[in-house]
């Protein structure tokens, strides 16, 4: 998984935070709460999956540093 996916994770985390905040805000409406909760549950599962799937790309630089160029 590339670095691009990290951005997606951060977007998902931001969206999850937004949803959590909604539950504490004046906008909270009981009628919408179930939909919002389902959305949060889905996001949380995706974030967990994405985080566990992330792999680092470690590259050894080919340039040599043992003598001045």
């Amino acid at each position: 998984m590339s670095a691009k996916n990290n951005l997606k994770i951060s977007e998902k985390t931001a969206k999850l935070n937004e949803l959590v905040t909604w539950f504490d805000s004046d906008d909270f409406e009981l009628e919408q709460a179930l939909d919002k909760f389902t959305e949060a549950e889905k996001l949380a599962a995706e974030i967990e999956h994405d985080l566990l799937a992330l792999k680092n790309n470690i590259e050894i630089v080919k340039a040599k540093f043992n003598e001045a160029e």
Binding site: A3, N5, F23, A44, N56, N57, I60, V61, N66
Partner: protein, 366 residues
């Protein structure tokens, strides 16, 4: 027996030949001794004597080759080439000098620390924050070192999706500082700069770690465009490279911990956030229930008040009505008269208990 012809040279040629011979015999020699008569001429040339109980040799080097501060009385090891000068004086042309023994390493460390501190290189105001979650990391280390393996293992465990470029350098010995400087320059001149440069090396002796107290290296770290994180040795080891870096890590593993969050902590946090929503919803339902109950109570109270008011008003009207009842007036002794009031006419007079028929005899105004 024929005598070998003696070789004949000019003075200059003989000096040149001697130097060639010396260079061939001792291309690089390390000599240990105590520094005496240390001086710097024109801010460029360094002269000192290296001595022990049995003798003394003059040494020459340039200021830029002197990577660590030295002073009279300090025991050092010089890497040098022996040379006969054109004035016939024997000396060592020094390429590198390093303090010998823990006490001298420490002394040199303190001298350089004081000098760089005086220039403000370690000032807190110079420190830059590291990115919260860097996507592109430049690593300077020896890939053979245990410290490097620890760093990569912890980094992989904690987070992923990162681009990690690793420059392979020596992390001890006389060549190490220059290699690290070149690696720093490499990262700082990239078109796509890494967001942070990490310099790591595992534990070692004071001499092993002395590469990280090299003045040009410390200055190069200080001027890095990219923020730096240095994790060298164990927790107790403090190098000047640590001190000048934007952030110091106690160990290579600690460097990985500083760089990225632990994905397992993030997952726990996400789960906690989700779990916290249910009680919040329950609280909201209870709040709604309480509000509705309260509104109902208020409505009942309002109806009760209205009923009481109406009942009271009705009672009062009933009392007024009762007072107006003609029977009550008759009971008090009054009489009700019916019929035409004119002389000779018959009228009916009603009292509370009797009815009287009477004739009108006379009518006059009061």
């Amino acid at each position: 027996m024929e005598k070998m012809p003696s070789l004949q040279f000019s003075v200059s040629d003989f000096i040149a030949l001697t130097n060639q011979t010396l260079e061939y015999a001792y291309p690089g020699v390390e000599v240990e001794g105590e520094v005496a008569s240390f001086k710097v001429n024109q801010d460029k040339y360094v002269f000192f004597d290296l001595k022990d109980k049995g003798g003394s040799i003059g040494c020459f080097m340039t200021v830029w080759q002197l990577r660590v501060p030295i002073e009279d009385g300090m025991k050092v090891i010089v890497t040098a080439t022996p040379k006969l000068t054109q004035w016939g004086k024997f000396s060592l042309t020094v390429r590198a000098v390093r303090p010998s023994g823990e006490g001298n390493l420490k002394k040199s460390f303190e001298l350089l620390r004081a000098k760089l501190d005086n220039e403000g290189l370690f000032a807190v105001e110079r420190k830059r924050s590291l990115p919260r979650l860097p996507q592109h990391i430049g690593v300077i280390s020896s890939t053979q070192a245990a410290g490097y393996a620890d760093f990569i293992k912890i980094l992989d465990d904690r987070w992923g999706g990162l681009q990690v470029d690793v420059t392979q350098v020596q992390v001890q010995g006389t060549g190490a500082p220059d290699q690290i400087i070149r690696a720093l320059n490499y990262f700082n001149s990239r078109k796509q700069l890494p967001e942070v440069i990490v310099i790591i090396r595992g534990g070692g002796s004071a001499d092993d770690l002395s590469a990280f107290n090299d003045e040009p290296l410390v200055r190069e770290i200080a001027k890095s465009r990219v923020p730096t994180l240095v994790g060298v040795g164990h927790e107790v080891d403090v190098s000047l490279a640590d001190m000048v870096a934007d952030m110091r890590a106690a160990t290579p593993s600690n460097a990985a911990q500083i760089l990225v969050p632990d994905r397992h902590d993030t997952i726990r946090e996400v789960r906690y956030q989700l779990q916290s929503l249910l009680p919040r919803t329950e609280q909201a339902v209870q709040r709604y229930h309480h509000d509705i109950h309260r509104q109902l109570e208020r409505s009942i109270e309002a109806i009760d008040r209205r009923y009481a008011y109406t009942s009271e008003r009705l009672g009062s009207l009933q009392r007024v009505l009762a007072e107006l009842d003609p029977k009550k007036v008759l009971a008090r002794g009054y009489a009700l008269t019916r019929g035409e009031i004119a002389p000779g006419k018959l009228i009916e007079i009603e009292k509370s208990d009797i009815l009287i028929t009477a004739e009108v005899q006379h009518v006059s105004k009061k």
